[in-house]
Symmetry: C2
Subunit: 409 residues, 2 copies
């Protein structure tokens, strides 16, 4: 079952706890730490930080590749880059929560997803050693499933009325067609995109630069709660951690990596949205931009994307989906199934009781929102959304404009 | 000298008169007539129309290629396509002006340019058999020289304030850098483009779908006169001929063919400007479009050009020139000349008196408008513009932001 393993805090294994611990100790995107975790695993890496000894060898023997140039030219007794990294990671050891404390977070409606967990989005591996150590999640939607058919909609915080309108309209349109909308939870374009998806009863994912329980910006407290209720709030930073300027930039690579494509609605020439767009391009994701008046500074970044970065100019939600569809096919293009609800992977008898209850609640025509399905099946919405993910993956259910239904022949 | 041969009406030779006559008898773009003129010359073709006998042979022997399908399937005694074409051309024979009458037009400030004349833009040959039989001109600028470094700026008649502003600004900017602005003399984007070029003391070319002496639209009477005073008004139709809906479409191919590139500023999805753009694309000219709000129907055509026709999105006049420069290099990229004014083709002693007078009037730094040069040299502006064309071609003079000056080392 999707989302099964990482929800229960009591089941936190040593490796998951170590990954959670690393989100407390180090800033995300630390390539040295990512390389260590890749080579030795999180638990060994955490033990090494605690002991101050690099796993298996002296600090000098840690890296197979030569030290970067600035290290080789360092003079005298200045510490090596590896030693400095160790100091950097150790500086927060005093704040490290215990496994019980991490479990306490999870009991408070927050869950942890680690590489290999059912809810972990495998596409984050494209970030290489910069991939998140773990993700903290708050909300009802299954992150991995939500991102399969999703688009990141990003843009300026100081969006014009035009930008807000376009972001909201596009988000509502793609959400109504079953695409999740990923954004950063900020003012302006981000907020309009989230709200558009919510208004269409769609799934939306907010990737924050602070803890998933931190109401930032304060004016978005209710919006973030609404996103959690209908979608999911995501962060690489542990609960209670606050946002900083640099963290927004670090966070942008995750937005770009999660979605098959990124759409920039409005962005000045130096906007953070252009930073997201560059990540999307570098990750070989689809890159799209909405044009605007050339007299608007906030459209200059969009035009730059089209002119210089070979981004696709899009003027409607349909064009967004057309651009993404080769990447993430629409249900109509999925392999044909015969019969009313032919499973592709699992037999109906293999479903657990909750998932079977959700399957029974699904309409065969039209569509039903996850909230109504929850009422009908007598289950909580979070469970329903995770069951729906499994049912969709198993070929039993499909998303449609009105919500969810049995998969058609 | 550029423009020398075709100005003097009395020098109209038989072939030029025949080409002028064809503009009276046939609509432009008649591929059958174009093929006849190509094969037999205009004079023979005119004689054939007068006699009702195709040159050299029976009507059936006229075409090397088989008759089009609709002709072969015609039944009974229906006339062949060739015979119908002959009837079509003969129907206006009664209105045909004499050589004296054509010469009278020319004395009235109108001149005729035919293929091979110094002022004929050779690039019109790209139109094949659809190339104009001849062009009627009114104005001071040399058409061929003006088009060498030019951009067609076209768009909707019902332009928004945004479209008019952009057209005018871009036109003024490129004109100030010595690029001629070609457009169609219509309301909206066309008018804004012409006015922008005029305001920058630049050269602008209006290609009309009616006679060059016809004030159409009536509201543009003064604008067309201003274009003639500072640029040139062009038509494939003879003087006094009025515009029709179809003629605008036929005319569009000439706008596209004259300029190295066409810029669409605002255009609805069914705009005539898209027709011009399609011609530009088919003629392998550079195709550019200005983006706008996706909420504006008048930007939809521009976005279509970028999305579907691989047009270049441009947001400034500098980007327009950058896009065109590989086609028509800026003076700075011309082969270097040594000395203050080294001729590339002619020696100074080979210049006629008028051209030498213009050369003497040119400043060595800054720049001077053609009107001021005319005053200084004591010549009429039309003569000055044509002399400037020869001086530029000869490597003596160059255009700059302020007008004309001696070519620098």
């Amino acid at each position: 079952m999707a989302g099964g393993g990482q929800v229960s805090a009591t089941s936190l294994n040593e490796e998951s706890y170590a990954r959670a611990a690393l989100t407390y100790l180090a800033e995300p995107g630390d390539l040295r730490l990512g390389a260590l975790v890749r080579a030795h695993g999180a638990a060994q890496t955490l033990a090494a930080i605690k002991s101050g000894q690099f796993p298996g060898a002296t600090p000098a023997g840690l890296f197979d590749t030569p030290e970067p140039a600035e290290d080789r030219t360092s003079i005298g007794t200045a510490p090596s880059a590896a030693a400095r990294a160790m100091q950097r990671w150790q500086v927060r050891l005093a704040e490290l929560p215990s496994a019980d404390e991490v479990a306490g977070c999870c009991r408070a409606g927050i869950r942890l997803a680690c590489p290999g967990d059912p809810e972990w989005p495998a596409q984050l591996a494209d970030l290489g050693d910069a991939q998140p150590y773990a993700l903290w999640l708050r909300g009802s939607a299954d992150l991995r499933f939500s991102c399969l058919r999703s688009v990141a909609i990003v843009g300026s915080r100081a969006a014009t009325a035009y930008g807000s309108y376009v972001a909201s309209e596009f988000a509502a349109s793609v959400a109504a067609r079953g695409w999740a909308v990923i954004s950063g939870g900020a003012y302006g374009v981000d907020a309009a995109a989230h709200r558009g998806a919510l208004a269409a009863d769609g799934v939306t994912v907010a990737v924050l630069a602070c803890g998933v329980n931190v109401p930032y910006p304060v004016g978005h407290t209710e919006l973030l709660d609404a996103i959690a209720a209908q979608g999911v709030v995501v962060s690489e930073w542990p609960p209670d951690r606050t946002a900083t300027r640099l963290r927004f930039l670090v966070r942008n690579r995750v937005i770009a990596a999660l979605a098959p494509g990124t759409l920039v609605v409005e962005a000045g020439q130096r906007s953070g949205a252009l930073n997201s767009a560059r990540h999307a391009r570098d990750l070989n994701r689809r890159l799209m931009a909405v044009p605007g008046p050339i007299t608007s500074d906030l459209s200059a970044g969009c035009h730059h994307i089209v002119r210089e970065w070979q981004g696709t100019l899009v003027t409607s939600a349909a064009e967004v989906i057309e651009c993404l569809s080769p990447v993430a096919p629409e249900p109509a293009q999925a392999p044909p199934a015969s019969g009313r609800a032919r499973p592709a992977v699992l037999g109906r008898e293999e479903l657990d009781l909750e998932t079977a209850a959700v399957l029974d609640a699904l309409p065969s025509r039209g569509g039903m929102s996850s909230i109504r399905i929850a009422r009908k099946a007598g289950l909580d919405p979070a469970t329903v959304v995770r069951c729906l993910g499994a049912l969709a993956a198993g070929g039993f259910a499909e998303r449609c404009a009105q919500g969810w239904r049995l998969r058609r022949t």
